[in-house]
Amino acid sequence: MSVPTTAEPDSGQANPRPPAATATESVPARIIRALLTQRIVLLAVLIVLVVAYFSILGAGGYLTASYDFDYLSAALINAVPLAMLGFAQLIVILSGRGGIDLSVGAIVSLAGMIFGFAYGQWGWPLWTAILLTAAVGTVLGLLNGLLVAYIGFPALIATLATYYAYKSLAVVVNNQRPISTKPIQDLYESTAQSVSLPLIGDYIPDVPKGIFLFLLPTVIVVWLLLARTTYGRRVYAIGTNDVAARWSAIDVRATRAGAYALSGLISGLVAVVTVGQFASARPDAGVSGNGMALPAITIAVLGGVAITGGIGRVSGIVLATVLIVWTNAGIRLAFEGNAGPQYQLLALGLLLVFSALLNGFALRRYGGVS
């Protein structure tokens, strides 16, 4: 449990929690309680089921290619942007007051174009270009934060407005043309390619580089930030009850604005990953089709983040991402042509609806999900 007693949800007072698991509870009842109230248990079970199901299909020859560990490992490259944006949503949703960030996809597009200019056209060194992109993302996110925390816009409206604005700027800034000069194309090698790990590489499949360069550092930093720093605990506090937080001398506005700035920062880093993955800075990278915000919010909800704020964990986001990525990877092999991506939509929608219904049920039956 990464949620300490200081950040316990206050909903328990109006609606007293049922007593904790007692010795009299039967074993099946305890298993069901664990599945329903501890999201990571449910996600872990689902991941095992999905992998087992597709492995059996693969062994029976029903898939177009084999669903083995090499394939699963290569598919993890799709987890990089998804999980990172999931963290962005986690921080923002945790901060409460209906927190949500619809603009992440548009920030990815716009920051990606800036990265394309800096690295691909102006010839900046890679690290400076990445720093600039991250800074641009932070500023774009901070604008959301100022609107929400200081002026009092509902988060949905503020980020809807900036979604439109950033999306439009990303297209206009280079006249709708993508940037794919030589340095940008070379980036593909350093993000999406799989590498063999030193020492243990012979025993496990090759893993995409982006996992180590971007995802793992983000996971560690976000976990440290949320679970081990004062700022992180303040985010939980304002999300749980912002009046109480203010009476505890927390600067609620600055903390909340910071959450949106962090979301922008992560989106800026995702922009770099996306440019590398596509080997091109595309003006519609983050908003084409369904955009990137929707899957990110889905992952956050699936990972057990309460949309009302104050409840949510890093591990939930990681497991939810892995579940979605491996489900999608299996679906891609199970259907030919366009049917694959279509069934991915179906799977995403069903997962989201059922996890939301499950959250509601667990809240009434057991008093909450952790």
């Binding site: 809807l160 369904n290 939509l345």
Partner: protein, 337 residues
């Protein structure tokens, strides 16, 4: 509720206090002013703007957004939201265009009724999940948006629908779709908006939506059938999506797989620009129509000025910030008084 008797007033108060919001709110007057200024400026700078050939498609494009906006206004007044309307448009449109018009070759009444029934079913699913599953509306509708999108792509079967017969011409952009120079689709919208305006403002049923958005628990204790009302709000949105889809199909002889993409955000933008509070309890359909008109005017103006059409999204974003920001500031001033 609409009749405030003198006895209700505190004896010291000399000013008659309102219970209902004024028929036309400040936000709506400002919107009207902004739209008037925009039309005048565009009329002077680009002569083509004030021609019938430019205004008629503009009104035709406002119609579906404003129609769905009626339902979305009711949904948002209850404190909810529906982000699945874009995907619902895709489902209704492809069923109307592909199954009813191209494959079965049926007439206009069947097409319209099919659209409304299908839209209603989709709305009913949303409403049932939200009202009885007691889950946050935004989460559920994000989920059903994916499901509806899958359904529509399945029906499209990886190809656009071509050679749609002009059965729905009465709702389209051609001369058959106009009465006295005004597109029929816009006239239908005006009539339905007027009905919704009266219903929301002057009937008990309509006021229940505001009561739920203001304080759901208080509404329940006051005897409002909260769940049933919420279900009705989403059902209504679905029915209107079905009708709007007929107008969308009538626009041309082809239907692409991306029909409806981004429409949910356009509708929500129109509603919030129109002054409806996203937290519920306050809003009007008149504002929504004006919001839709403003967004479409900006889009049309940007194209006519020869700018990149994507630039209109930037102005829509800025318009949302200004409209909602002004509302927030006024709300703060109201609370101080």
């Amino acid at each position: 509720m609409s009749t405030a008797t003198v006895h209700d007033q505190p004896p010291t108060s000399t000013k008659r206090q309102r219970i209902l919001a004024p028929p036309v709110t400040g936000q709506e007057i400002v919107l009207l002013g902004v739209i008037a200024v925009l039309w005048l400026v565009l009329g002077f700078t680009t002569p083509a703007f004030m021609s019938a050939g430019s205004i008629q498609p503009l009104l035709g494009a406002v119609a579906p957004i404003a129609l769905i906006g009626i339902g979305m206004t009711v949904v948002i007044i209850t404190g909810g939201i529906d982000v699945s309307v874009g995907a619902s448009i895709a489902v209704c449109s492809v069923i109307i265009a592909k199954l009813v018009l191209v494959q079965a070759g049926l007439g206009l009444p069947v097409a319209v009724i099919t659209g409304i029934v299908v839209g209603g079913l989709l709305g009913l699913l949303n409403g049932a999940l939200i009202a009885y599953g007691r889950v946050h509306a935004i989460i559920i509708t994000f989920g059903t948006a994916n499901l509806f999108l899958w359904l529509s792509l399945k029906l499209f079967n990886s190809s656009t629908v071509n050679n749609i017969p002009d059965t729905l011409a009465a709702l389209g952009n051609g001369s058959a779709g106009r009465t006295a120079g005004v597109p029929n689709s816009f006239l239908i919208t005006v009539v339905l908006v007027a009905l919704a305006w009266v219903y929301l403002r002057h009937t008990a049923g309509g006021r229940h939506f505001y009561a739920i958005g203001g304080d759901q628990l208080a509404a329940q204790l006051a005897g409002v059938k909260v769940r049933q009302r919420i279900l009705i709000a989403y059902l209504l949105t679905g029915l209107l999506v079905g009708l709007a889809s007929c107008i969308v199909v009538a626009q041309g002889s082809n239907l692409g797989q991306n029909v409806g993409t981004g429409k949910e955000l356009a509708v929500i933008a129109a509603v919030v620009i129109g002054g409806t509070s996203i937290t519920g309890g306050r809003g009007s359909v008149l504002g929504t129509v004006l919001g839709a008109l403003l967004v479409q005017t900006v889009a049309s103006g940007v194209t006519q000025l020869g700018w990149r059409s994507e630039l209109s999204d930037l102005f829509v974003g800025v318009a949302i910030i200004i409209a909602v920001g002004a509302d927030l500031i006024r709300e703060r001033a109201r609370r101080k008084r």
